[in-house]
Amino acid sequence: MSAERYNRQIILKGFGEAAQQQLLKAKVLVIGAGGLGCPALQYLAAAGIGHLGIVDDDTVSLSNLHRQILFTTADIGKLKTEVAAKRLQEMNPQIGIVTHPIRLQKDNILHILSRYDYILDGTDNFESRYLINDACALLSKPLIFAAVSGFEGQLAIFNSADNLAGSTNYRDIFPVSPGKGEIPNCAENGVLGVLPGIIGTMAAAETIKLITRTGEPLRNKILNYNLLTHQQYIIKISQANNYIMPKTVAEFLNMEYQDTCEAPHGYEEIDAAALNELRQQESVILIDVREKHEVPVLDKQVFTQVPMSELAAFITKGFSQKHVVLICQHGIRSVAAAEALQEKFGTAKKIYSLKGGIVKWRDYFMRA
């Protein structure tokens, strides 16, 4: 270890050589090399975390760059884990970096998590968050939880007992995952790039505090941070007993983490090719459920505009077409709309949702 590299934190009162050695010995896994993961990884690597793992199965895209600051324009299309590992290794060649370019699932997560001491969740969906939470609880791994929405962030540490109580986990706050479309994600709702930068950096700080036993990490506490006002509100988490938590590997493997769209439903998720075929049919209505200000603007002769805010009234009014195709920007609100229509019409109408939305099939919509 080069003491000079870490000199400014080693000389810090209350930190010192011993803390630096603890960082060097620590094995930290960052899940999601996105808006939260990038700044967290940068500070963890720079601080000298000895073994740093990165999980992400995605590639860099242009709309990532305003917040995922490990990547450059030239990296578009490349695997995030590879680009991130290269940059971080250049910044600090003294640490070990391992990449896991995969999507974590029930059948691979326990194996990967078991190789690390601390897990940082910087993912962007509830499916992954509940999977990671349960796996960490099962393996008793401290979990640093970071999430953002709009101009706000949440930060917490789970599975790490404090002096007063035992440990808590995410299900003690929210026992079951929200339904599709219930809570908008960044792709739907937008996010100011600097917000995950702040929350991701705070998550790195909590990780370092936890490893080196410095200060008061957010054990059994969840911090709500508002970027617009700098208001911070900490809530103490107590244990709940109203949820099911897998206690064994066998129970864990039997849990259901898939998005609700994977389960059989009264509606069908389709791709652009199926949409094109449906358009040839008789008695079809194509409904664009995005708000009126959203772009790209679709041909209103072809796509009927019914923003989500007006959907209930539209359903009540009724319409004659038998086939209904719902379209939105990313295929999330359209699923919520499909569920609403399903509830009203049952099997009387055939309901479809365009999976991945206009963003995924942009080429098709630009031609159409």
Binding site: F126, A147, I173, N185, C186, Y233, K236
Partner: protein, 77 residues
């Protein structure tokens, strides 16, 4: 009696931070029912109460000048 309400995320879009007078309400279960009538959007979203910075896991008494936080889950990254 008067309490202060603090809300986060999507909930803040329809319940702004405010002081409200809840003369007839003595506990968090009654307050939940009251708020879901006054703000019907609340019924369609998962959320958790915290009273004076403590997460509420069971019905709890509310006192004058308490602070109630209403927190939804965030998933973005």
């Amino acid at each position: 009696m008067e309490i202060e309400i603090i809300s986060f995320g999507k909930i803040a879009e329809f319940i702004s931070n405010q002081k409200i007078d809840i003369a007839e309400i003595a506990d968090t279960d009654s307050l939940k029912a009251h708020l879901e009538i006054r703000f019907p959007e609340l019924k369609d979203i998962k959320y958790k109460f915290a009273l004076n910075n403590q997460l509420i896991q069971a019905n709890s008494a509310i006192n004058h000048n308490d602070t109630l936080a209403i927190m939804p889950p965030f998933s973005g990254g």
